[in-house]
Structure formats: C-alpha cells, structure tokens
Amino acid sequence: YAFFPYMSKWKKNEVTYRIVNYTTDMKQTDVDTAIERALKVWSDVTPLTFTRLDEGEADIMISFAVKDHGDFLPFDGPGGVLGHAYPPGPKINGDVHLDDDEKWTEDKSGVNLFLAVAHEFGHSLGLAHSSDTRALMYPVYDINTDLTKFRLSQDDIDGIQSLYGYPSVPPTTSTENETLEKDPATCDPNMSFDAVSTLRGEMLFFKDKYFWRKSTNSIEPTLCLLSAYWPSLPSGFDAAYELTTKDTVFVFKESKFWAVRGSDIQPGYPRDIYTLGFPRTVKKIDAAFFHKEKQKTYFFVNDIYWRYDEKRHAMDHGYPRQIATDFPGVDEKVDAVFEAFGFFYFFSGSSQIEFDPNAQMVTRTLKSNSWFNC
C-alpha cells in the first residue's frame, strides 16, 4: 500500500459525502446502494463513519462527468480511465469523479460501480495505489473480482488502519452485527467452521471473516468481525488453539501461524509451520488443540495427526499416526477441534463428535453449532 505525500488523511472520523449528480446508466437507488456499500467496505475496518449530505459542501463530493470537467484531468471516453479521486482535504480534495462515458452497472455487464467507487474512496481517505495485485487499491480494474464475496485485501486493511486505526466500537454492538446475531446463519443446521479454539474461558468459532464468541455464562453467542479484533490477521483460518499455560492463541493459515495474546499479535510472527517440525509435504493444518493434562498439542492433517510437546518445543517421536487408530470413530476429515469439560470435540462439516479420551470412544454426535443453543 502507499500514502499520498505527508500521509494526508481526514483529521476526524466523521466524514460527510454527497452524491452531486447521477449517471443515467443505473437507477438512482442502485447508485445510492452501490455508494453506501462501497463506503461500508472502509468503515467496517476503521473508526470512520460516513454521513450523507444532500446539499452544500461535503468532504467527499461524488459526481459523474465526461471528458474535460474542470479539473485539468479530462476523462478519455469509453474504456481507459474509469474515474479518479483526490486525497483528503478541503474543496476538490476528497472528491470522486467518475467517467460517465463508461457503462456503469450494478453487475459486471459494464463497469461495476461498487467496485470502482470503493477504489476511489480509498484515495478520498488517503490511500494511493498499491502494487499488490490482490488489493482493491491496485490501479487496474479487475473484472474477475467475485462481487458476492468481496473483501478488502490484507494490504488494503493494513494501509487504511495505518492511517485511522481499528474500528472504535467492537462490532458486537454495531447494528450490522446485531442483525448478523439474529441472522439465521448462526443457527443454520448446515453450519460448519474453519477453526475453533478456547480463549480465557470462552469458546471461539471461526468462519471466514467472522467469529462467534461463546462464554459459559451466556446463552447466546456473539458474532464479531475478525478485522475488528485482529485487523492484521488474514481471515479464513485453517486451525486455531489456545496454549492455556501461556495465555496465547495460535492461529494457522496455510503454511503460516501467528501467536495472539488478547488482541495483541506477538512479535516475530507469522512463522512457518515447518519451524514446529512439520515436513515440507504438509501445506496446511486442518485442526489443532492443546491437551492441558498431557501438555501436548495435537495437529490434525487429512487422516493423520502429530503430537507436539509444549515443554520440549518439539514433535514427539513416532508421529504422524492415523487419526482413526487413536481416536476410534473419528473417521471424517477434521475441520476443527477443541477440548472442553474433559472431552475432545471434533468438528467435521455440520457435525461434531464428542470424544472421551479416557474411555477412548465417541460419546455423542452433535450439530456443529450445538454450542449456540439454537
């Protein structure tokens, strides 16, 4: 990511915007919606709020124009330049100009307005272009972006949070999150998780860019945005576990892992999983949990598992071993696992297996989201 000279940014978190005129390519309500969604991309990961003005001078004036439109940067007709925007500041600064010689659309049949204007808002907030080809702030419009699952890249998040910091209000109280809390997804019987972990007596259920927090003394879980708590972590973890003896949660994604204490990422991370003793053939971890009684951490990969000695900081000899041999009844690929109340809970798709390590047998099969008291 990159900034403008002097790292220009808004000296306040409440930014105003005004849609000065409309393109005739789309319904006005669709333009409004695309612009609101594009602003939300940035407000989701910062303390910024955006208030719409319908008249007068707003911080971000959004207008459609063609060819020479009075700012010495004429547009070039269909194709080529789609729009431009100015860094934060008074008057024309912060403003967004969109080339109305483009065919603006809600979908991808023309130039997708949400995607293009979300990029321009990055400039209006203080980001210059990024050379990270996955970043929204990469200068070239990526027609292949999956609009149904759009998310800022880590580069975008790192850049904008260097300017404005993290969201001030944890998303657990934001309206968006309240609707999500009541969102049927929480109780979807087909719910599956990327990873699960304990954390200081709570349980965390990770899914894409969200996680549910469930404490033993609350009936319902709370749904949170990962980027609100650990903004510099990638989303879509592969595995996570709490090393209770060190008050640390380790999270894994592909061949990297991070150590997190509370909301602080420990220095010196991410590290390669190979530093734990995995062979190079292992590209990612499926699931992991720490067994406090034995001071051992179990790592599950496909149908085998390793056991890591947290005292010796090394893998135990004689591993990997077959999961089904030592955990009879755990036959499916493990998505996630944690230990609770003396049992091991293995998550696989929408099912969860409760395993009694003393009796060495499966005691119950549950729905993965059985902890949410649906």
Binding site: F4, G79, V81, L82, A116, H129, S131, P139
Partner: protein, 82 residues
C-alpha cells in the same frame, strides 16, 4: 529508427503508450522521447518502472503482456508520486 507516433503495437498507438507513461508514471512530456528508444532512454526506464509496479516481467520492452495491461480499464490517478 524514428517511430511513427501513430504506429501501433498490439492495437495501442505509441501516442497512447506515451500518454499512459506521462499520466501514470510522470514521464516528461517531450514528443521526441519515442523517436529513439535506446535502452538508456527515460522512456525505457519508465516502462520498467510501470512493469515493476504492476507486477509484470521487467523487460523495458513493450511486450504483449505490458500492452495488454495498458489497455485495461483503470483508475485515473497516477501510480507513483511525482
């Protein structure tokens, strides 16, 4: 040899290429730049800078990938600060 500014490489005129480098990589506006594109010319340096920023193979030449990238729709703001 003098390159005709209207000459096209992969359906992109030399004019367009020069304007791209001027607009987004602050190539000095000088008509004769393109007349002699020796390896040390500022134009080649700007082509390299663009290729590096956009994640292309840095060749200094207007190869197909580079020309393809320059035809794609994009933001009008420069890629590098002047």
């Amino acid at each position: 040899y003098p390159l005709d500014p209207a000459a096209t490489v992969g359906k992109l005129s030399m004019d367009r290429v020069q304007k791209y480098l001027e607009d987004f990589y602050h190539l000095e506006k000088n008509v004769n730049q393109f007349v002699r594109m020796k390896s040390s010319s500022p134009v080649v340096a700007k082509i390299r800078e663009m290729q590096r920023f956009l994640g292309l193979k840095v060749t200094g030449n207007l190869d197909d990938d580079t020309m393809e990238m320059m035809k794609k729709p994009r933001c009008g703001f420069p890629d590098v600060s002047s």
